[in-house]
């Protein structure tokens, strides 16, 4: 393809060059011939003045001898009558006088016809006419075409040669990429890398492949890690549940049996949460997490969420430092509750030995900002983006903290689906988790949100 195009382009250039060259050659020839006509004309001035036909004819014949390309020459006197006319023997050219009746020069079948005035001072004595054969031009064009064809052929050969080298080079690398891909597909070994630190498009492609493999490998590693954690996390509350129930079977003491059943129920609820998180993640992955937006008072919800978390914590006290009464928003109430409970539970889990968690909220422009501040282990700056990833668990704790590492991932998904943002900020001690929710005051905007959430559900499916 490239070869065809380059030869085509070369061909076009050669043609343009030959055409323009021929044109300038013709132009030059016209000028030369007119000059010749003027010279001959001035030589015949005296012949015309003295009406010496013989002298004029001699001049024209001499001209033919010196310049055999001149096939025809003739002179008209000032009245337009033929004074003298010479024509090359055997030439069948049309009469030069009639051809140039209205023109000064003319090309016809590779012959050039020109005419020029014969002047003596300012006095017009007559007109001279010449016909020149342009065999030279034909010859010239022929040789030009020959060399052009030769050059084209050479260019063609050279570009085919170059293309072959390039193609072997390119296809060898592409083939190596394809083979690696096939091998990966066959063996499932995602640690394959094709080192290529070049700068061209294929190197970029190969580097893209390497990055993709790196990403797949990382995801697989996290998935494996997740499966390990999942089995551990599911089995631990199960162990507890089973253990207490077995003890319950063993004893008769009623006050103790009450305590044991409480413990067992606590484990059951932990299991429930883990299983719900797992289901949520699989819904998010499948794009099936649907929102059911309704209008409600955010202040009430914050109170309810705090109360439900406070119920299970006797170590921390959750303090509200604002009054959010009558802040109506349109959102999925249950899901926002889930986010709040998750962030509050995290704040308690990750600040062992501390006593308080603070909830702040404010209305900024057209959004509501909720902030949950803890005084715990904090989040390092490297971790601030990672903690919202699926399966990510902080390594910043010495005591084991239960969970899949899915909570924040689910929170982020819920908040972004609502058109809000979620982020974490490190504090001098501990950290602040914040999220926003858009405030849609008009009924029309509520409808937009409804549609938006539905669209998101469909588009991500």
């Amino acid at each position: 393809m490239q070869v065809v195009v380059s030869v085509l382009v070369l061909g076009i250039f050669f043609t343009i060059f030959i055409i323009s060259d021929t044109r300038s050659y013709k132009q030059r020839k016209v000028e030369d011939t007119i000059t010749l006509a003027q010279v001959i004309g001035s030589n015949t001035v005296s012949a015309l003045q003295f009406l010496d036909e013989e002298a004029a004819r001699n001049i024209l014949m001499e001209l033919h001898k010196v310049n055999p390309d001149i096939f025809q020459a003739g002179i008209l006197d000032k009245d337009g009558n033929v004074f003298v006319h010479y024509s090359k023997p055997g030439s069948d050219s049309p009469d030069v006088f009639t051809l140039l009746k209205n023109k000064n020069s003319l090309f016809r079948e590779n012959h050039l016809y020109v005419k020029s005035d014969i002047l003596n001072g300012n006095e017009l004595l007559g007109k001279i006419f010449l016909e020149a054969d342009l065999a030279e031009l034909r010859q010239l064009n022929k040789s030009k075409f020959e060399s052009a064809a030769l050059l084209l052929l050479l260019a063609l050969g050279f570009s085919v040669f170059l293309a072959m080298i390039m193609q072997t080079y390119i296809s060898r690398r592409l083939l190596s990429l394809v083979n690696t891909m096939k091998e990966v597909a066959r063996t499932g070994d995602y640690s394959k890398q094709i080192a290529d630190d070049g700068k061209d498009e294929i190197s970029v492609l190969v580097q893209g492949f390497d990055q993709l493999m790196e990403k797949i490998k990382e995801n697989l590693r996290r998935k494996d890690e997740f499966i390990g954690i999942a089995s551990h996390e599911l089995k631990t509350p199960l162990t507890s549940l089973k253990g207490y129930l077995e003890l319950l079977k063993q004893i008769e003491d009623h006050s103790l049996s009450r305590k044991f059943s409480e413990k067992a129920l606590n484990s059951v609820s932990k299991l429930e949460k883990l299983i719900r998180d797992l289901l949520d993640v699989s819904k998010i992955q499948g794009g099936q997490l649907e929102l059911n937006p309704i209008e409600f008072d955010m202040g009430n919800l914050v109170d309810e969420s705090i109360a439900s978390v406070q119920l299970f914590s006797n170590t921390h006290i959750i303090i509200r430092e604002d009054d959010l009464k009558n802040t109506m928003i349109v959102a999925d109430r249950q899901r926002i509750d889930q986010v709040l409970v998750n962030l509050l539970t995290n704040a308690i889990k990750y600040s062992p030995g501390e006593k308080k968690v603070i909830v702040r909220s404010k209305v900024a422009k057209d959004e509501l900002v909720i902030q949950i501040r803890d005084y715990g282990t904090g989040v390092s700056s490297e971790e601030q983006h990672l903690i919202f990833d699926r399966f990510y668990r902080t390594r910043n704790t010495s005591v084991h903290i239960s969970g899949f590492g899915l909570g924040l991932y689910i929170c982020r998904d819920i908040i972004t689906r609502h058109g809000g943002r979620i982020w974490v900020q490190a504090e001098e001690k501990g950290s602040t988790f914040s999220f926003t929710l858009p405030l849609h005051k008009l009924a029309a905007k509520q409808q937009t949100l409804l549609n938006l959430s539905n669209e998101q559900n469909f588009s991500s499916r």
Partner: protein
């Protein structure tokens, strides 16, 4: 009364083990932080150690190896404890006496403890 030291980073499991074992006439010390294990062995002088494999920040198998390398502690039987059933294969290579998978059955737990008390 035989003394059992339990090391597990999950508080729920620790409480459960504490109750289960004391109800079955063992004297129990339960610790969540693995860093405290050697100190606890010295002070409590247990007759058997139940050791969780995946402790926050440490591998129970390595701790077991350490115990078995020490002249002072190597006589104490160690029972590895894990939710990962595959860990059972590593028992002998780290010198442990037995393995109990979570969730366990009470009867099996008590039997394993009895069998491994010197």
């Amino acid at each position: 009364m035989n003394k059992i030291l339990v090391v597990d980073d999950d508080m729920d499991i620790l409480t459960l083990m504490e109750m289960t074992l004391s109800m079955n006439n063992y004297s129990v010390k339960a610790i969540a932080r693995w860093e405290e294990i050697y100190e606890s062995i010295d002070q409590f002088n247990p007759d058997l150690i139940i050791l969780d494999v995946s402790l926050g920040g440490a591998d129970g198998r390595e701790i077991c190896k350490n115990i078995k390398r020490s002249d002072r502690m190597q006589r104490i039987p160690v029972v590895l404890f894990s939710a990962n059933a595959e860990m059972g294969r590593h028992v002998s290579e780290c010198g442990a006496q037995a393995f109990i998978a979570k969730p366990y059955t009470l009867a099996a737990l008590l039997q394993t403890i009895r069998e491994n008390l010197n």
